[in-house]
Symmetry: C2
Subunit: 430 residues, 2 copies
């Protein structure tokens, strides 16, 4: 049974604080092991990669092959059941269109002094996408990571994925084909992230690494932040649903379970203004659970981290929603814009009764890689910007230099940097 709170309860503030502060992310204590793996791959390259892959994935890279060919991906795509192929194609087309609209504009203008100022965006040359092996190998995740990179203009898109015992997921290969991945290497774990960051004999280094992974992969990305760019540190998935009593409890229950089934540490929270509806959703969750192949995971998540919070009215929920700064937020009401105007922190928002969060996981277009663990307070979902960088530029003519140069000389002098002052003063004295 999940947590039940009411904002009118005497102990509500304290109980809600505990909910907000609850860290579902374990300090896995892998930091030292990951540092050793990174150092090993950096020093010994392919040799270290082969040894670590034999050890962790029971896979002999030299004997069984280091990479997966693009023709194998094309074949996996061609062999897809037609309905699934169309679904992946539709998802890819919509993701591509949404991310194309994110491409930033260059700026180039001249101000009143005659100074030309601007900024120019360009793509990174190479990006790496980590794709987990086994159960969590999701083709949707390949599309969500790889398509923004290609839309950004990345020249070389490298996928790494462990193939434990040699197994590959044909859906993942098909998605790599659709997304335009350029290389695929059969490596995983912290060693794969290290290989992408520093390069090895076989694998050329990349500039940015994205994609989900286990605690070792996440820690490797964290440790290599600065050597390469990475996407935001990711934790367990979460959803907050704000719903009035006009909703069908069975639908809202399914929405809550769609996060709970991801992982035992996932979190689903419902805010509603109607106690009877709260009871009905709780009952609907119990009714759905036995029908799900993911029952064990979903039940554990819901029992451990799930919560239903009753509020006097839905406006009262909104400051609480902002404190949770959830990855996913559903506003299942007739006029979602009124509530949405009060949302300051959320990864992605699903408006109205006909917008289940799962649509956003697959086919809507916006990215499903979103900030978790209250990081929506400062972080954004994955976008083309993660694969691009901005170069600012400046051009002065003599008039502009005369207008603003003396101030630079004064400030450089005050900061005790005489060569800075000299480089401007010599030009003023022309």
């Amino acid at each position: 049974m999940s947590l039940r709170l009411d904002t009118g309860d005497a102990g509500f503030a304290k109980a809600f604080d505990a909910l907000v502060d609850d860290r579902r992310e374990s300090d896995a204590g892998v930091s030292r092991d990951v540092a050793a793996i990174i150092a090993d791959v950096r020093a010994r390259g392919d040799l270290a990669l082969a040894e670590l892959t034999a050890k962790f994935d029971r896979f002999d890279l030299d004997a069984q092959g280091w990479s997966i060919g693009l023709q194998e991906c094309a074949a996996a795509y061609a062999a897809l059941e037609p309905g699934l192929r169309e679904a992946l194609d539709l998802a890819a087309a919509r993701i591509r269109a949404f991310h194309a609209s994110q491409k930033p504009e260059d700026k180039d203008s001249i101000d009143a002094t005659g100074a030309r100022l601007g900024s120019r965006w360009s793509a990174v040359e190479a990006a790496g996408v980590y794709v987990p092996g086994g159960r969590a190998a999701y083709p949707s995740s390949v599309l969500m990571n790889a398509i923004p990179a290609k839309v950004a203009g990345v020249d070389r898109l490298v996928m790494v994925t462990p193939t434990p015992g040699g197994s590959v997921n044909p859906l993942v290969l098909a998605a790599a084909h659709i997304a335009g991945v350029d290389e695929i290497w059969r490596v995983g774990g912290a060693q794969a992230v290290a290989a992408l960051a520093y390069g090895t004999g076989r694998i050329q280094p990349v500039d940015v690494i994205t994609g989900p992974g286990n605690a070792w992969v996440a820690e490797a990305k964290r440790q290599l932040y600065g050597v390469v760019g990475i996407d935001m540190v990711a934790g367990p998935s979460e959803i907050v649903v704000v719903a009035d009593a006009q909703n069908d409890p069975a639908l809202i229950a399914a929405d809550l379970l769609s996060q709970a089934e991801h992982d035992p540490t996932s979190q689903s929270i419902l805010f509603t203004d109607d106690t009877g509806f709260a009871d009905a959703v709780a009952a609907a969750v119990e009714a759905h659970l036995p029908t799900l192949a993911t029952q064990a995971t979903a039940r554990e998540s819901w029992a451990t981290y799930g919560a239903i919070i009753t509020v006097r009215d839905l406006d009262e929920a909104m400051p609480l929603v902002n404190r949770l700064a959830a990855e996913h937020l559903e506003l299942a009401v007739d006029d979602p814009d009124a509530l949405f105007a009060k949302v300051r922190h959320a990864g992605s928002v699903f408006l109205g009764r006909m917008t289940p969060e799962a649509i956003g996981d697959y086919v809507a277009g916006p990215n499903h890689v979103l900030p978790t663990g209250r990081r929506a307070r400062f972080a954004s979902g994955l976008s083309v910007l993660d694969f691009m960088k901005r170069t600012s530029f400046l051009q002065l003519n003599e008039g502009a230099l005369d207008a603003i140069g003396p101030a630079a000389v004064a400030l450089a002098g005050a900061e005790g940097l005489p060569a800075h002052a000299l480089s401007v003063a010599l030009r003023l004295d022309r």
Copy 2:
């Protein structure tokens, strides 16, 4: 004497590789100490802060005061020498205008299926700016970090700065006044970064931390990345100058020295197509050096990391320039746009003969916090975006759900996530 290379030399490729790979950033080995300080501040809050500040800064927070009042900043501003006050005001106005032009636009549109899609930007609630004490306490750095935060719309802007032995830099306080800093705490080092990230009894936590610092500060930010947002990991400053023989060697020499004087590990590199000009710049560097109060630092940097590279023509320099991906790049030629079109990786570019890099450090408008150590391959200078985040949103009507919902059901089924499929299928069966 700095390094001299010519692209025609037999050993050029190898020597240039070494220049590119040369890591001027020391692994300072402070990682464990910083982790201990962070854990201490997180556990003991103000008590730990007071002890660490007494130890490292010889400053008694409880007896001498934890914070610097805003009225003290206003007084420092009022007491500025008028020329300096005008220079700071001009710099602030130009920085504010440039960063205001960076504010991203929200998107909200409806596609062919009737699906509403968009994204909305918002500022983080609180940001922290680290300002070093002592020699490297630069008012320009306060402006460059604080103004973008305020332009972004940050509600609460917190400055932390160590005041060793009680000393404060009035220029820094004046800059804090101009920039609109809301709180100033007399703490520094890894302990100040930890206090900003986790909060203490006195200091409320922030969402993003930016600003330069020593190896301990940089490591603390790196370790706390994910708990808060941070700006890019920063290393020693650097400049690459591409100049033909039509330049005055004394000007180009001053430009090279304006980076060299920052730190013994700073780097200045000149590309030119004229050996005589190369010799003249080298001689001008030697002539300038004895005139500079920063001579010792500049001489050590130039001797250790400086380089002059002669090329057959300036176009030949451009792929080499891109490999260096420098923080600052000057294109000192008559037609800089032709060369600029070939620049893919650079933090900030200074076009033409009248645009010394130092102008950009102070008064031009673009940010002087820029990616170093080849990170311009994947990172950008500080901007309003570092203090904002994007929330994507989606709203389906029944028609849009019918159009794209079945594909989501198919993909959820293929990924083994039945509650995802259920949440969509129940709405399709309405």
